[in-house]
């Protein structure tokens, strides 16, 4: 019993209570019922009044217990890129044997409804988040909210955990394909006809497929490289006009290489990174923190 009381007090300290419009309704109702009861000593009204009072009174602890048994932590949530929406994952665990009801996760203007969380279970929620710029960021000020049971109070439980993440530069610029086309001679020789694709202005004129032009379509021939160079080298200075554009370009190429499993290296002013030495995330982190 004492243990339960201690637990309740601990939980109660963690939870904040805020008034709602229904808090006012309850107060008005209690006042109105009292006037009615006082009028003629209506015991039926007194009974209703006491029930309403007791419900409002017991709603507090019930609401606290409903929310207090929840624990929310951030979990690794994938990559974030500046200017692009990502998802921060929050894992909400109910450590009690009884379900929690009507719970909502709130964070920086967005909210996700959890509705019911069964006893001794967990749920993972995705919070949409768009980093405004590259670099290390922190995500905090999240809280769980519930109006259970009567909407007479809005209970909030702050998530003490802070999400520390890194936003990589926004992948932007020329595609890897364009880069390869521009630097074709240096990085391989065309050997086998591979197929046709739409001409986008960057291909050689000699690759134009004239037969398709005759049919009214502007297609170009693509060829597989006979041999690929051991390493693609992305030079920081050649990647764009300013630092941010360069970092965005490099980020785009790194991701494309990761997708195509191409080995590469990035030449930064003071350091050279290589996919055979560093992991992609390490390379991206270097770009993010440049």
């Amino acid at each position: 019993m004492l243990k339960s009381l201690r637990t309740f007090i601990q939980i109660h300290k963690r939870i904040k209570q805020h008034a709602t419009v229904f808090s006012i309704v309850i107060v008005v109702m209690l006042f109105g019922l009292f006037l009615e009861a006082y009028m003629h000593d209506f015991n039926l009204v007194y009974i209703t009044l006491f029930f309403v009072f007791s419900f409002a009174f017991s709603a507090g602890p019930l609401g606290v217990l409903n929310l207090g048994h929840l624990k929310a932590t951030f979990v690794p949530s994938g990559r974030f890129f500046a200017g692009q929406e990502g998802n921060i994952l929050v894992e909400v665990t109910n450590i009690s044997t009884t379900p929690s009801w009507s719970v909502t996760l709130h964070a920086k203007g967005s909210s996700i409804e959890l509705a019911q969380l069964k006893g001794e279970s967990r749920a993972t929620l995705s919070l949409p988040f768009t980093p405004t710029k590259r670099g290390i960021f922190q995500y905090a000020e999240c809280y769980l909210e519930s109006k259970y049971p009567l909407s007479t109070a809005r209970l909030t439980l702050a998530i003490e955990d802070i999400y520390r993440g890194i936003a990589y530069p926004e992948p932007n610029g020329k595609s890897l394909e364009t880069f390869l086309n521009e630097t074709e001679t240096h990085y391989g020789e065309e050997k086998e006809f591979d197929g046709l694709r739409v001409y986008d202005g960057s291909q050689k004129l000699s690759h134009i497929h004239w037969a398709s032009v005759a049919k009214g379509e502007l297609l170009v021939k693509t060829f597989t490289k006979e041999m690929q160079t051991a390493d693609l080298v992305f030079d920081f200075y050649k990647a764009g006009s300013d630092d941010e554009a360069r970092l965005s370009q490099l980020c785009l190429w790194v991701l494309a290489c990761e997708k195509k499993h191409l080995p590469f290296s990035v030449k930064l002013p003071k350091v050279q990174l290589g996919s055979h030495k560093e992991s992609i995330d390490e390379i991206l982190t270097t770009l993010a923190t440049y």
């Binding site: 109105g32 019922l33 007791s54 049971p149």
Partner: protein
């Protein structure tokens, strides 16, 4: 059952929840709706049923006009601006207006704040109109139902889950309600009417006059006039005379009291010898001013005045139930030094009106000197006349009522006996008067409780002898009692159609009703004080009270624990819980995303040396798999699983 059944379609739309709430709160109010409003409600319900899309402005305007018309027709003739001061009429108008407004909003199919709070307004309004045990039960149900609906909406869950939560909350609240109800300070002074006037409710029964003509044929009803709680057992019937009024003047067809303009000496100190008794009375609205006290009252109660004839009255008509504690001395005679006027009116008679009776009375008067002997002779005379007690007497000759009753019809009830006896006593030289009131029927008593009904209205006679008024129960002079008498007047008759068991059950129900009404419906400042006073003087009572409160807390706690038990997806999983708890207690915690099978296997691996345990857990795992994943649900398997889990604890 601790596992959930396959999900039933019990999730309801918010609008449906609100409709259900409205149905429940409007049910008692329907009983007071006038026909136009009922028709209006039916039309609105039909529109809601047939039109499943939000109503347009045209339809809402139509409903508004219809509503206003219905309100007008319902209140037609009963309402003026002065009528606003009549509380119930004003409240009735409020109910109608609210009904129209709610109907208009409901047709839009949009839930707004006003639509959400209106069920509570209807509930509060209905409490003005009803005040009975049925309503008490219904109010508790209403409160619970509204809580259930709110929780269903808040939890967005099925009705079963929200019902469990509502029950938990209700149980949490119950002890608080009980404690608050008992101890919340009640108002001792007059209650506010907020400028409204009271309502008029007419009741029958005893009144200030006594008719001998056809009006006397009215049979009083079974309605309870007052309920009396004695400190100990209810005294025997021959003590249960509740004084109402004293009638002195014979007006041929009826008897009247001394007119109020006649000034008589008041406040006479009476010597009161006999059994002293205290009792509590709940007197229901009579629309009269009499306070009924047992013969002989010791002192006035509350704000009443006890006159020289020991008649207790209050200044205003009794329009609300009143509760009072009174003290009386149970005796059939009391000393009184009457004034000349009273003596004169108590001796007045007209010999020409009842010559036959007069002749007989003179014989008695000449034969006996003492008034006591004369009275005895009159009683004997009545016995010799073979009078029949009946509630269906033939009409008497109004110009010669006593002669007609004693010598011709010979059939009557208390009124006729009392009237004739008084007349004859006066003729025999004994001052006499009629007392009307109620005579408690011991068959309506249980332990210390006595219900006094309208049919218990009674009349008896007081003769003035040796400076004492002596009570005479004149109906006891009847030689016959008509068995098929409808509704007994007092203890003389019992309804032959009712079996003793049914009568006993009825009495117990009435007793229960009385207790509920006394301690719940009409619990007041006085009752509260009485309770506290009683508690002060009785430590045993405090002990019982505290024990009862603890018992209530334990019961609610047990119910809450039962309701809060977690529900599992299958019966097998529910059966497994003691085992899982036991393993967890031993420090063997299930990992995140670990299946039960994996969990059991890990346990087996960790306990290789314990062969018995391994075999046991393996079998449990196997049976669980058969039941849950291979759908081989059989009673035998379930029993086996239960048995294995029991055995596991013993290993």
């Amino acid at each position: 059952m601790r596992f959930s059944l396959p999900s039933l379609p019990t999730k309801l739309d918010d609008l449906v929840l609100l409709d259900l709430a409205y149905i429940v709160v409007l049910l008692p109010l329907i009983l007071m709706l006038k026909v136009p409003m009922i028709l209006f409600s039916i039309i609105v319900l039909s529109l809601l049923y047939f039109k499943r899309t939000p109503a347009g402005n045209g339809l809402i305007l139509f409903v508004f006009i219809l509503g206003v018309l219905s309100v007008y027709l319902s209140m037609y003739g009963a309402f003026s601006f002065r009528g606003l001061s009549r509380l119930k009429l004003f409240l009735e108008l409020l109910v109608y207006v609210l009904l129209v407004v709610v109907a208009m909003q409901r047709l839009t199919r949009k839930i707004n704040f006003y639509l959400l709070i209106s069920p509570f307004l209807f509930l509060a309004l209905s409490l003005f109109f009803y005040h009975s045990i049925v309503m008490l039960t219904y109010v508790i149900f209403e409160v619970f139902f509204l809580l259930w609906m709110i929780l269903t909406h808040r939890m967005q869950s099925d009705l079963v889950e929200s019902f469990r939560s509502a029950m938990v909350m209700f149980m949490y609240s119950l002890p608080w309600v009980v404690v608050l109800f008992i101890f919340f300070p009640r108002i001792s002074f007059e209650h506010a009417n907020y400028g409204f006037k009271g309502e008029t409710v007419q009741r029958m029964g005893h009144d200030g006059t006594m008719y001998l003509d056809n009006k006397a044929l009215l049979v009083p009803s079974n309605r309870i006039v007052m309920e009396v709680g004695f400190e100990k057992q209810v005294p025997p019937s021959h003590y249960l005379y509740f004084r109402g009024s004293i009638l002195y003047i014979d007006k041929k067809d009826h008897w009247e009291p001394i007119p109020p303009f006649v000034k008589r000496k008041n406040h006479v100190s009476y010597k009161k010898d006999g059994i002293k008794i205290a009792y509590k009375v709940t007197l229901y609205p009579t629309q009269k001013r009499w306070i009924y006290l047992l013969d002989i009252p010791q002192s006035p109660v509350k704000e009443s005045v006890l006159d020289r004839d020991l008649i207790s009255t209050v200044k205003h008509f009794i329009k609300e139930p009143i509760h009072y504690t009174a003290r009386s001395t149970l005796n059939s005679k009391f000393y009184d030094k009457v004034d000349r006027y009273t003596l004169k009116v108590s001796s007045r008679f007209d010999p020409k009106q009842n010559p036959k009776t007069y002749e007989e009375a003179l014989k008695i008067k000449n034969l006996y000197v003492s008034k006591k002997e004369r009275a005895k002779a009159i009683v004997t005379f009545f016995h010799t006349k073979s009078l029949t007690y009946t509630l269906k007497p033939e009409p008497l000759d109004i110009n010669h009522t006593t002669d007609s009753f004693l010598f011709d019809k010979k059939r009557g009830y208390c009124v006729h006996f009392a009237s004739s006896f008084t007349t004859m006593a006066r003729m025999a030289g004994i001052p006499a008067r009629i007392v009307t009131g109620y005579k408690g029927d011991s068959s309506n008593a249980l332990n210390n409780y006595l219900a006094v009904k309208e049919k218990d209205a009674h009349a008896w006679v007081e003769l003035y002898m040796n400076e004492h008024w002596v009570r005479y129960e004149t109906t006891s002079t009847a030689s016959h009692i008509e068995i098929n008498t409808v509704g007994s007047e007092n203890e003389q008759t019992n309804s032959p159609t009712q079996s003793p068991l049914a009568k006993k059950i009825n009495l117990y129900l009435m007793y229960a009703k009385y207790q509920v009404e006394t301690w719940i419906l009409y619990y007041s400042n006085i009752r509260q004080k009485q309770l506290l006073q009683y508690a002060k003087n009785n430590p045993r009572f405090i002990f019982i009270f505290v024990i009862s409160l603890i018992a209530l807390l334990i019961i609610t706690f047990l119910i809450i624990t039962y309701l809060k038990r977690p529900r599992y997806s299958s019966e097998a999983l529910s059966i497994l819980q003691p085992l899982l708890r036991s393993l967890k207690k031993k420090g063997f915690v299930r990992k995140k995303d670990e299946s039960l099978h994996q969990y059991f296997m890990r346990y087996i691996e960790d306990n290789q040396e314990k062969k018995d345990l391994r075999i046991h857990i393996k079998e449990i795992d196997k049976i669980y798999e058969l039941i849950v994943y291979r759908n081989l649900y059989t009673k035998e398997l379930v029993q086996r699983l239960k048995k294995l889990i029991k055995e596991f604890h013993k290993i």
